[in-house]
Structure formats: structure tokens, C-alpha cells
């Protein structure tokens, strides 16, 4: 992996930064173990992100979501649209999602460049895509369908994958750039996923960051991963169950220098830590954002 070397200026013209929470661009994932604590002692973070699928319907989860939404800006980060399937995105899923968008007025709506559904089965995982023009057509059809249905732009996240395809005709960052260019969607860059990909498929994470169209980047994700021994080697798995690793922080610094003061999320979805730990990770990201970006953060009202 090469040393960080980007000299590109922060993207002050980036249109996706207009709705960034004004004072604090760092958020945390809102998960059920924290509901009560957040209401009793609101943590010092700029915003919260949830998976909308956990809030379809009603009940206690939605009750807490609406209470917490009164205090924090919200991002809806979906895992169930299956944008990369050859089949169209489900109408039912779009309707339930739109109802939640109308209720919670999120500043970001996003999902992944991956697939989950095939035939009548929805496999509930973010599955890998070959990077070809055929895949781009399928993905773009579904991104456009989603954006048309919602009447707003979405962000699309780069995945972590454990297999790569022989017939790829472009790199992953070229694929992401092209999807954004064709559909007008923004990019949610998961820095940990870029690291996972670079280890599992042998490329340079910094080159990936440098290859991304900076003007499209609307959010960054940070998370922990796990190195899993397999077949005499190691597979790096995106587990979201531990602190962000130092190597990923290093790539994040590079990303912030290149993309500017982009909203950044600390993701943690298993083996939940204390709120103090989460807030500590958020503080670390905030320090990097403010130390390594300048003038990239413009609020619409300014």
C-alpha cells in the first residue's frame, strides 16, 4: 500500500454537503440498546443513522426513532433494496421506505452497490456484483427507479466482498463513478470496505480513494473488521463489531484531505460497546475531519 499523497483540494463545490448537520458532521448508528440512554443523556454527536428496514410498521422501535429524531438529524441507510439485482426493486419495499422518509425527513437516504434478491428469495446480505456494463445497466435502472419513487437523490455505498469476478471490465471505483454519473446519485464511501477490498482482492486503497469522483461523495463510513483465517490465508470480513483499525484511520485521513468535511458515520452492529466507546470513535473522526479539511464544509444557509 502506498503512502498517502493526495494533493487534491477539498470539494467545496460538492452539492451533497448542503444538508450536512451544521455544527457536527460526525454521526453514530442508532441501535436498540442505546434508545433509552440517548434520550436520558443525549451524546455529543452530530446525527444518527438507522437501517429503515428495522422501522417498517410501528411499535416501540418507531416510537424511539421519532423521539430521538426530535433531537438529531437522521440518515436512512437501507440494506434491503437490492439495487444490483436484475429484477426491479420491490414496490412494497419502496412504499414502506418512502413512508418512513416522509415521517422522519432524513438528510441522507442510501443503500448499497450489491444484490440480495433473486427469484423469490431475499438473502438478507450484501452480495457481490461483477463490474461490467451489464451490471451497470441493472444497477442504474434500480437506482433511477428508487430516486424517481422517492423524488430525491440517494447515495450508493461501495461494498465489502469476499469473491471477485473474472469478467470485470472496470475497477470498482470506475464502476461506482459511472453509476453516479449516469443516475445522478451520490456516493457513500465506506472507508473500511475499501480497506477490506484492498486486502481481499489485492489493490491499493489510496489509489481507489484518488480514483473516486470527489464531487459525488456525500458520506463516509467507518467500521471495524475481522481477520478470519481461511484456507491457509486470511479473509478480511466487514464485521462492524470492534473499533476502527489504525490502517483504516490512515486511509480516512487521506479521504478527508481529498473529499473535505463530509458527514462521517461510526458503524457498529454487533457486540455493542458502551456509548462512551462509540462517542470516542466519533470524536476521533471529528478531530481528523477538522484537522485535515478546511473550507470544504459549506452549509446551504451560508
Amino acid at each position: 500500500m502506498t503512502a498517502p499523497s493526495s494533493t487534491d483540494p477539498p470539494s467545496s463545490s460538492n452539492p451533497y454537503l448542503s444538508d450536512v448537520p451544521r455544527d457536527d458532521p460526525v454521526g453514530i448508528g442508532l441501535r436498540y440498546p442505546y434508545y433509552q440512554e440517548i434520550l436520558e443523556r443525549p451524546p455529543v454527536v452530530g446525527w444518527m443513522e438507522v437501517h429503515p428496514e428495522n422501522y417498517f410498521g410501528g411499535g416501540i422501535h418507531r416510537h424511539f426513532l421519532t423521539k430521538i429524531r426530535e433531537q438529531y438529524p437522521l440518515s436512512l441507510h437501507a440494506v434491503g433494496l437490492s439495487l444490483g439485482s436484475t429484477a426491479p426493486v420491490s414496490d412494497d419495499h419502496l412504499k414502506k421506505f418512502k413512508e418512513l422518509i416522509d415521517l422522519t425527513q432524513p438528510f441522507i437516504v442510501s443503500d448499497h452497490a450489491s444484490w440480495s434478491a433473486s427469484g423469490n428469495a431475499h438473502l438478507n446480505d450484501l452480495l457481490p456484483l461483477p463490474y461490467t456494463s451489464e451490471t451497470l445497466d441493472a444497477l442504474c435502472r434500480n437506482i433511477e427507479r428508487t430516486q424517481d419513487f422517492f423524488g430525491r437523490q440517494i447515495l450508493v455505498e461501495n461494498p465489502s466482498t469476499y469473491v471477485a469476478f473474472k469478467n470485470n471490465t472496470m475497477t470498482e471505483y470506475e464502476f461506482m463513478n459511472e453509476a453516479a454519473r449516469r443516475t445522478g446519485c451520490g456516493l457513500l464511501l465506506d472507508i473500511n470496505n475499501i480497506y477490506v477490498q484492498s486486502r481481499n482482492h489485492g489493490f491499493d486503497a489510496y489509489e481507489y480513494i484518488d480514483g473516486i469522483d470527489a464531487a459525488r461523495v456525500g458520506e463516509l463510513h467507518l467500521a471495524g473488521h475481522t481477520e478470519r483465517p481461511a484456507g491457509g490465508g486470511v479473509i478480511v470480513v466487514d464485521t462492524h463489531n470492534r473499533p476502527v483499525r489504525d490502517t483504516v484511520w490512515d486511509i480516512y485521513v487521506h479521504a478527508v484531505k481529498r473529499f473535505g468535511r463530509v458527514p462521517t458515520l461510526i458503524e457498529w452492529d454487533q457486540d455493542f460497546p458502551s456509548m462512551e466507546t462509540l462517542v470516542g470513535e466519533a470524536a476521533k473522526a471529528r478531530m481528523i475531519l477538522f484537522e485535515h479539511s478546511s473550507g470544504g464544509f459549506k452549509h446551504a444557509a451560508e
Binding site: 428496514e53 428495522n54 417498517f56 410498521g57 410501528g58 411499535g59 416501540i60 422501535h61 418507531r62 416510537h63 437501507a78 440494506v79 434491503g80 433494496l81 437490492s82 439485482s85 436484475t86 420491490s90 412494497d92 419495499h93 414502506k96 444484490w115 440480495s116 434478491a117 433473486s118 427469484g119 423469490n120 428469495a121 431475499h122 438473502l123 438478507n124 446480505d125 452480495l127 456484483l129 461483477p130 461490467t132 451489464e134 451490471t135 441493472a138 469476499y162 469473491v163 471477485a164 469476478f165 473474472k166 469478467n167 470485470n168 481481499n200 482482492h201 489485492g202 478470519r228 481461511a230 484456507g231 491457509g232 490465508g233 479473509i235 470480513v237
Partner: protein, 263 residues
């Protein structure tokens, strides 16, 4: 290979026997880039995420079944169900409608005849937990109606409500699972239940048979007078006034204004 074929083959492989990962057909293996780590090892990460993730999520729906049959038995049964009937939607909250029937046919559970109905009870609790929010019928809205209009009214149950009948002692078993003291209850006992969520907490309410029968008729859309006529025909001692007082207080019915045809 076309994208659609890749996705179909990948799906089938994930839902196949785990041994299938060790002998991926050559034409499908050929679509993946070769690396230092065998394809089977890399595909195992996905299989573990998919089958493990869906199973673990579904497992949490059944704390009572876990008490009754133990963690290992339940996990094995759920894994078999997930492979045979994977989710069809990208939201798992409503997954598993066919599980009680699957349990009924599941060979290792044949000695536990009450298990399918207990599975149905826990699915109903889960459904109520995630049901859309709605408002309860205000008793004053009923009091304002003339007798004729009242009789023609359709009283809808809350969106979360599920009515359950079983020849087995589901409620006693449920209570025993929650507070396992003394001997297990006798299994054979006709049971009538309503699971619903008046506000945020899910309630499981034991019903008399006539009460259950009347609620079932109402939930099928019968107007109040028609349903009352039928319940009196079948249960001469049914007390309509007492029933109405009880269920208005329990907030069993949905507010009129939320459904257009009866607003």
C-alpha cells in the same frame, strides 16, 4: 455468464447443502477470479452471513420455543426452515409465516404436538410488536350512535390483533416458560387467545370460547348486530354488555376514523 444466471446460481448454492460449496460446478466457478484462498472458503463467508444471519434473527422471535425444546433443537429446526423457505422480502420483521406448518411436518418435533401452535403464538407476538401504529376506538364514538346505526357498524380489531385457538394449553405453557416453577401444566386444554398491542407493549389475552367466537366474527368483517345474533345462537349465555365494556376498556377495537368504509 449473464448477471441473472450468476445471481440464480449463487442463490441456489447458498441455500443448498453446505457440502455443495466444496464442489461448485466448473462453469460457475469459472466466473470468479482465482486467488490464494480457495473459492469454497470465500463462499463460506457468504453462506455463514446469509443462513446464520437470517436464522439468528428468526431465532430471537421464539424465546418460548427455546425454553420448551432448548437452543440446539430450535436452531437446527430454524436453519432447516430458512433453507427450505428463505425470506422473500428485504425486511425480516414479517418473515416466517409458514413456520408453524413447517414445525408440524418437522420429523424430530413429531412428539411435541403443541409446538406448531406455540410457534404460531410467538409469530403473532412478533407480528403485533411490529404492527403499524393505530388508534383505539373511543367509547364515546359508539355512545353517540343510534341503536340501528350501531347494529350496522363493523368494529375492526386493532391492526396488531391476532386471534388464536388451539386444543393445547398455550397460555399455561407460555406462563410456565416465563416463570418455570413446579410441574409443567397439563398439555391438553382448549385455549383461545388474542395477541395485540394496545400501545407499545404486546399483550396476550386469554379469552372465553364465546368471546373468541364473537371477536373472530367481527374480525372477519361482520356488522355488530349480525355477529351478535350468531354468537347468541351458539352461546346462549353470552353477555354482550359485559363483552363491550371489557373490550372497550382493553382498547381491542380500532378507531372508526382510520378506515374509510366505516368512518
Amino acid at each position: 455468464m449473464r448477471l441473472n444466471d450468476i445471481q440464480e446460481k449463487f442463490r441456489d448454492l447458498m441455500l443448498d447443502d453446505p457440502a455443495a460449496l466444496e464442489s461448485v460446478p466448473d462453469d460457475f466457478a469459472a466466473v470468479f477470479a482465482e486467488g490464494d484462498i480457495a473459492l469454497a472458503e470465500r463462499l463460506k463467508v457468504y453462506r455463514s452471513n446469509i443462513v446464520g444471519g437470517i436464522s439468528d434473527n428468526f431465532f430471537k422471535t421464539f424465546p418460548l420455543l427455546e425454553k420448551l425444546v432448548g437452543e440446539d433443537f430450535l436452531k437446527q429446526m430454524i436453519r432447516a426452515f430458512v433453507l427450505a423457505h428463505p425470506p422473500s422480502a428485504g425486511c425480516l420483521n414479517a418473515y416466517g409465516e409458514g413456520f408453524p406448518d413447517f414445525v408440524r411436518a418437522y420429523e424430530p418435533a413429531q412428539g411435541l404436538p403443541y409446538l406448531p401452535d406455540m410457534a404460531a403464538l410467538e409469530l403473532a407476538i412478533n407480528r403485533a410488536y411490529y404492527a403499524p401504529d393505530d388508534a383505539a376506538l373511543n367509547p364515546q364514538d359508539l355512545a353517540a350512535l343510534s341503536e340501528t346505526t350501531l347494529g350496522e357498524r363493523i368494529l375492526r380489531l386493532r391492526t396488531s390483533a391476532v386471534l388464536i385457538s388451539s386444543p393445547f394449553a398455550l397460555d399455561a405453557l407460555r406462563k410456565f416458560c416465563l416463570e418455570p416453577e413446579g410441574l409443567p401444566p397439563p398439555i391438553q386444554k382448549p385455549t383461545f387467545l388474542m395477541v395485540y398491542r394496545p400501545l407499545l407493549a404486546v399483550e396476550t389475552l386469554a379469552l372465553a370460547e364465546d368471546e373468541y367466537s364473537f371477536l373472530l366474527d367481527l374480525s372477519d368483517g361482520a356488522p355488530l348486530a349480525e355477529a351478535a345474533g350468531r354468537v347468541f345462537d351458539n352461546f346462549a349465555r353470552f353477555d354482550l354488555q359485559n363483552f363491550m365494556q371489557k373490550h372497550l376498556a382493553l382498547e381491542t377495537f380500532r378507531a372508526f376514523s382510520v378506515f374509510a368504509e366505516n368512518a
